[in-house]
Amino acid sequence: MIDLKVKIGNLNLKNPVILASGCCGYGLEMEDFFSLEEVGGIVLKGLSLKERQGNLPPRICETPSGMINSIGLQNVGIEKFINEKLPQLKKKKGVFIANIFGETEEEYLKLSEIINEIDIIPAIELNCSCPNVQKGGIHFGTEPEILKDLVFKIRKIYKKDLWVKLSPNVTSILPLAKAAIDAGADALTCANTYKAMAIDVDTGMVKIRNIFGGLSGPAIRPLTLRLVYEINKNFKVPIIASGGVENYRDGLEYILAGASAFQIGTILFKNPKAPMEIINGLKKYLKEKKINSIKDLIGEVKTYE
């Protein structure tokens, strides 16, 4: 029997395929394509304390093997989430993880407190790396001391699993990984999007109203893969990779580099059934290679002597 189960901190996941935050709505949108319990986990659209309208369009543009987004963290806010989305999610099986962000420490803490009480949510993913919002956000993710402080305070309030999603827009990711681990993170999500821009040469206009946005998609996979590898070489923490996975082979690159699971985001826009294809691909790969458990592959990349 092929075993795709993985463990992230205290969480046992059916398989290592997790839907990335901001790319699968509140999970419910995916139900037409597969049943939500089929995937390892679903990270919900980033939640803030108050409802947010996000940025004005244009918010997205295509780039070579990727895309830039500057949604501006549009979301219904925690209250509406609890009143309108949660009752629906409660009817589903599936592992739902809350992705949260704030513009102040207090916001983060309040959100964590509230989500601590939601029984169907076993983990929080802390988005401290979103490059889209002018205020807050970006600071938490690039300064180890600030990050450590934030994670530490949330850790005291929040009793379940805490994932910290790192920003890749740094000279070295290791001090930030260390800060999060030292402050008590159960796992690291590596990583968010890369700060980018694009220009329409026909009109001379920036393609994103906010000028800058975050680059995602296959283009960034080699960059994030190196980050995952480096973190794994230096720390013992479970890693959830996120960046440019389109198929099971891309996911395996991350597993071999040291990730215990991987998220899929951008590919969902073109192929909402990608998660099922990836799960089947992983099963087939393990079978052909006569490997029983995907756990046996984590961090097993070979290098030249």
């Binding site: 709505g25 369009p57 918010r59 549009q74």
Partner: protein, 255 residues
Amino acid sequence: MKNFVKGKIEKIEILSKYYLKLKVLLPYKKFSFQPGQFVMLSDKNSDITFSRPFSVLNWEGNYIEILIKMVGKFTKKISKIRENEEINILGPLGNSFKKEERVALVAGGYGIAPLYFYLKKGNNLKNIYIFYGGKTEKDILLLEALKKLLKKENLFVGTEDGSLGEKGLITDIFQKNLNKIKIEKVYGCGPLPMFKALKEICNREKLDLYVSMDPIMACGYGVCLGCVIPTKNGNICACTEGPIFNSKEILWDKL
């Protein structure tokens, strides 16, 4: 229920320098399309990140037809697709044009697609008028089919260079002929400048205007939040709550 399936290219027809028509066989019959709804297309070969939105031009039984203007990466490559090859289709998506007794349809460019479908599915076309414009005669498509559906008095065609129909902007032609027709609503489908002119006319004439917006879309099913239209009720996704909006709701100056 949205379906994500592989359709089979049954026919590909080059209509003019810029336009082609695809006939795509759907794998089963669960689909049901209303005029104004769209599908997202993607294929294995064109290295696109986003799937691409296209209005349904026609739906019958187990196939749909799509009118495609060749403007960029995907639409130019799709012209090389061969019959029997597969294409990914997600649909049906979005809201639709409500059936009305007395309505003027104003179409520019590929905007004809959903409005043609509207006519096709209508049963009483007596008080339905269409104003269909383009830059040159090359931009006016499906004219024979339209003539079969509508009486001459109900069909207004214009081109900017006068190469077909009346010479001028279709919105001007619409304005000029308003006194000859009796309508309650206007459905618009075309480029932004056309909408802006149309909106002025409809405001002045106190006509309800509904427009089908075409923002850049990545997913088509409400998860990327890339396709929002700024409205009085906030930023609203064109793919799930549009693409058809009441013109009065839209904050035009924020577009």
